[in-house]
Symmetry: D3
Subunit: 328 residues, 6 copies
């Protein structure tokens, strides 16, 4: 298709082999790739150490891999395959420590720093949302990144349980405080659900984070919302964090803190498809908690959203390689 | 916030205590309040004595309480807490008789008459829809109330099984016949599903009840529908009855008579949020049948809709107390 | 209602008998009708011999019958009953062979040929989508039929597993090749989901099949889409094939190849209701796989969609009998 | 096999037709048989009007029929088929009234009186245990019957909810009081579970009913227990009532009042197989509540126990016909 | 019954109120009792901070309370009620910290120290098995207690994840090291399941703990095993810890580390019933993980085992009060 | 431990890495081993092409791998690890063809012939029971093997559906006819369940196969049964086939043809543990059908039984290597 597209890029297992067959790597990609040989690494972080309510995201990566066998290789709208645009591989799981939050934060940050140093863009399967903090620490250390954040919750609370600063309800407050996330270039889409206090969103807004509640998404439509999001992040390095609970619980029952009245998968797909052309540096799908799932629906949804994000990351990589800045 | 808001009003348990912890009262409110000390009483009616098809709503109150632990205390759109506007408490369950319909109807009516006499507005967790009949008998005895009725079914049939007049398919015909419900001030929203007979809606319409089928809700939008509903009920005393089966079965699988093609929770939340300023006298969420639920989704949805209704009742109470008639 | 409507037409069991009672025939219709006495025969094909991924549609007919007890007899929009327009009966299941694809294809074709010869329109409960091939062979043998095809997938692949030509991913390619389906009069609605190859839809389009992807349905609306579909099939004999996976997985989790981002049941009902006046010769609901269902939701949805289709078939029959061409 | 065994006896559908195929009659027997043409009628009573705790047995008959498709036709120990010993047919469901207990009791009694008058032995699929009361009224009116009663509960309480005399916790007290059940010839096997009061079993024992608690079954073994049971009922007319909750909840989760520490299915099968040679007049399997079932396990278990009972009833019938008193 | 049995002892809610009704306190006991007014306090510890594999026991107390509504008030074998022998109350949950293990250990220990000081025997609903460590610290501080320990696992490993000393796989090693548990008076019953290393049980045995593997329980029978257990603990203060995974997974699927080939509930009930006469100081049921449960079976089983333990604790209390040392 | 035990043998992933982490290979073994480097190859056959009733075993290997993460490395009774006795690896899945039985039979046979030629003993995760036929063709081609066969069904029927000779109900009739299985050295344990015909077991017995029904296992005990089984197979090459449906459905609900009244897992483990010292050539666990499973119980049970079989195979290998013939 173009000179940079190598036929030697890693490809998913052939469709002639039944999809329920074989080891469930992400998207049926080859397993055991060397980091250095990849442009995009798909990584699992089986962890729920920061979860304040219903745990279970430690089982997320395994079930996301399992469900990703159902995702074929070519995008249905662009008719393009991410595996033709970039070298993609399943790098396995980060080794975390289920009984020590700080130890796990350090392990995760170290792992992603290695990816960053080798210029491999991470596509992460969480894990609860605290997972994103050490990833941002690795990606935003030199320059704070911007972020397009799909979520029902702002995750910018200060503390829980009488002083705990590191939970899945606080990562982005910490990331801004630590200077690895640029709040002026951060937009949160789909926020909803009753609050602990009338002050819950005050800090975020005061620091420049843009909150687009679900009500607004419904009224304005995804096209308008995403145009605004693109304007906010601009062409500087941008991370996409997709908390599965941005979706209505009917699409994603398997999560720890569901909130009714959420986004449809059609809207979410539409939203992600409107991100092309940005300067993406990584992405994640977090908060998939299989013990609360119904018939693997959340895992299937999460895996498909990972594929949508993968297509965006691959496009961003390919644009960088071709220096044209235009994907199609 | 204003002089009437007492810091002594009962408040839900602190967010610093994990939400899965402790006894599941409604919204984590204190249990064992005296009726006389409340403005709004949250009451369970664990009963399915009128159910003609799949039973199970006898388990509704317990699971609604359980799920309500997930609902925090401040409304996400108004940034206001109902617990700052009114004294709200969990009054426990009405003692019903699972094997005798008439006995249960009498017990329920008696209980709500006490609430009515003490000027406590009831927010009820059903129970099947026959539960609403004795509530209306208690609230509408002196003056028939108007009603905004969310439902897939009109529930105005005459009899079942060869003459049974008291089932969950007949409460509103009885309520109109008994003079406790004003049909001219009654509007039914979301009606759909195949009918037993082409005459099923004839009686309701002939008596002045307004039926707004789901097709019409889809075409006109919730804003238009609710404006019409507000005009129908006016500023006279109005009850809100929310049958969970008005929602599409994907949002509320745990109900006895699901009908595909229903309302989204977003629409339902939007609809209820458009009710502010009315002269509300009580509300209910009925037909939550946990044995048919999937992963507690229906209970969580029902509990969240109860919170939306609670916010409306608290606002109505607060307006009455301040005599301004304007909520914000 | 009109002179052709016989009070002797078979009717579902009375609503005075609880709907969970008795044998679950389709729509509680009498069982054991003679083919010759019917205008429309409801038939089960308990078969998944062509399934390439997750099997289970062999259990579809039984659960669709079971769930159809919940569907009452009168359409909620037209206030008309199909049982007043045509003689409808449950003809039981075709005897298939679960371990031999070709044998089953022959058995199914033979059965439907009998129906065709006796001028009984089939309403089929599948079965996987390969089921539709022998039905088309029976109905389209003398003249290729047109088809309105609701599906997430085009089902026009050539082969699977290194040469298998008869799977549920290939029926319509075979049907066109065999001359029993007219591609110029075939329209596929709701297509979506990642593809095996960027060439997956090339054959279909090159042969004249119209593909309307889900994205387009969302953008244009069902009214526009169905007008286009009606124009494509015109007034020649037309078959309707409804693959349950056209629906979003939240409405139809019980299917073998779910794809997120699909149609709502409201949209699907709307779509089918816009088909009146066409020259229909049969219809099916396929790919209901109960082992993957959640709380019988898919079966209930499938049964209700069968009822919508039945109303269309009954209308088409009635118009032919009255020769007016107008349904109401 | 013998001169009385007619090859014209009704037989289940051939094993060459897949068992998931076709309408789920009991054991795949022909449907629509005339009462007069049968020796044993299999009857459903879809009713839970007497249930004091978790309802759902109204769905029992349908799911028992559904699951009975898995039961083949020849007993694995005797290598004999009940369909060679007696004329057996599925008579459908008794029409009950879900909202009126007394009306249902009358309807059921009337139905079984007809069977009794036509000398058709009933094998009943309940329904809650109150179902057995009207059956005993029909069978024991002329002469009180004896009973072998498998159950976790004695079901001989006096009243519930402040005076209710007819619930599924009281049928055998009523039956003894009414003179249709002979307490001296009644034995209850498998009784266990915490009691409301230390006096719960006093009435039963004082009236001559033999209670064999589960602890005793475990200690003495089923062989000893059943010998004692046979001695108690003797050769007078005897009814077998099998409450599915006699089984441990792992074998029968789908029931309203489970008690841990129960019987295994192996023990229950063994127990029933030790009943041959008795003068049986009918049997039932009650308290199967599908909404609480797990993967249809309880229905499958219930259907298989019905087959074991059917074999005993068929043997009893056959012995009466051959007047030898010996089954093999 | 005896002079010490007060009719003023707290009693469960009357059986005349449906058991699915009202707030689910443990065994439907009154809520909000003062510690000082009780002999036995039932306490929840909603915590899984020490869980190394599948988490979820944080939801244990709530579901155990919920399921305990099904347990009536009189023991079926002794015909005696614990509520006549001791003052029993539901004390609610200990406030734990889901993201900090050491903080939670301290909070739990403090709470139980208060109970200990007020001479209230604790019956605990866990929580994972690390919960038992701070309880033993509170109860065994002055004198190390003995323990009868039902479990599939010895829980005497040293560390996990490269040095973590406090997990649910290590509590009893820590308790012995800290001198709060007497290994010579500790017996572990039901041990089974593959091991990480051939040395897994070496430390326990070397320190004097008696391990009775499941194979041995099967061969020798529960009577023999419990006689040995009684001899080991003698008449000194003894704690009973019941890890629900001692049961076969079919009886207790809802647990984090199931092992096939386990105990039946009948055996477990039998075992606990053989403990009467011991000098008991407390008991727990731990490792009930509702997210992995099937139809609340594990919760129901856990609640019933709690009732069996409650009867033993109440008997021990009563003996101490009457100074006879014999229960019956 | 002995000179043959190499520390270089492949070992499962360390217990210090959470067991829910990483790719689910069988028993967390390294993936991608070369056949030539192994003594025992664990192989998946994701196939249900021979299934006559409820399909789904095509998903068996994936879920068995998933569940096998819970199985640790050392046997709890022998305190010995199979990974110290033999080189064991996960060889992935055989590529089968879901829509062509004969093609799949050929593919499977070819694969196992390679293993046989390279002297790698197969431990297979099915797949339905027809899978065992091509395995026996590969292993028994030169000399018919003996077999210890755990199953609820004899699987020696002749044909299904009017002549189909290759189904999961016929493999051992075919294997005997083809001379790859020695009926005189074949014993079937646990047989039960109603039969299609009184002649179902005649062929097997006439050909020398020993059938030990479940009733006999219960009466005689597993020790006696297995002594008899060992005598039947002797010291000639012997295969073990473990159909998961030999277990009672409560232990293995996820299977296509469950029969109540089956074996406990304790009995099955005991049975397999009594097989040591035999001349084993391979083993399988078949008929695990995840779509019908409850909470992965069947997969966990199947994986643990695979581990028990693996220990036997490893012991047999080790004895051959050391030429002593005694395992310990």
């Amino acid at each position: 298709m173009n000179t940079l597209t190598s036929t030697d890029y890693p490809q998913p297992q052939s469709g002639d082999i039944p999809r329920y067959s074989g080891l469930p790597t992400f998207f049926r990609l080859p397993f055991g790739a060397q980091i250095a040989s990849l442009d995009i690494g798909v990584v699992g972080v089986p962890w729920d150490g920061g979860t304040t309510n219903r745990a279970g995201t430690r089982h997320g990566p395994r079930e996301l891999r399992n469900a990703s066998s159902l995702v074929r290789r070519v995008h249905p709208v662009t008719y393009q395959s991410p595996y033709d645009l970039a070298r993609v591989g399943d790098l396995g799981d980060v080794q975390v420590n289920p009984v020590d939050v700080q130890d796990s934060l350090a392990r995760i940050e170290n792992y992603y720093r290695t990816l960053y140093q080798q210029q491999v863009m991470p596509l992460t399967a969480g894990g609860d949302h605290l997972t994103t903090l050490p990833i941002l620490r690795a990606l935003g250390r030199e320059q704070p990144v911007g972020m397009i954040h799909f979520d029902a919750h702002s995750d910018t609370n200060d503390t829980y349980f009488g002083g705990e600063r590191f939970t899945h309800g606080t990562p982005f407050r910490r990331a801004v405080e630590e200077g690895v996330l640029d709040p002026q270039r951060t937009v949160q889409i789909g926020i909803r659900g009753a609050l602990f206090s009338e002050h819950d969103h005050v800090w975020a807004r005061a620091n420049g984070i843009t909150i687009i509640p679900m009500e607004q998404v419904t009224q304005e439509g995804m096209q308008t919302v995403m145009e605004r999001a693109r304007a906010i992040v601009g062409m500087e390095p941008t991370y996409i964090s997709f908390d599965i609970d941005v979706l209505d619980p009917v699409y994603a029952p398997g999560t720890g803190t569901p909130e009714i009245g959420g986004m449809t998968t059609l809207q979410a797909q539409h939203g992600v498809r409107l991100l092309q052309g940005l300067n993406l540096v990584g992405a994640d799908v977090v908060e998939v908690a299989p013990p609360f799932d119904q018939g693997n629906l959340t895992s299937m949804t999460g895996a498909t959203m990972m594929f949508e994000l993968l297509c965006q990351l691959a496009g961003a990589h390919h644009r960088r390689m071709t220096s044209t800045g235009a994907m199609r």
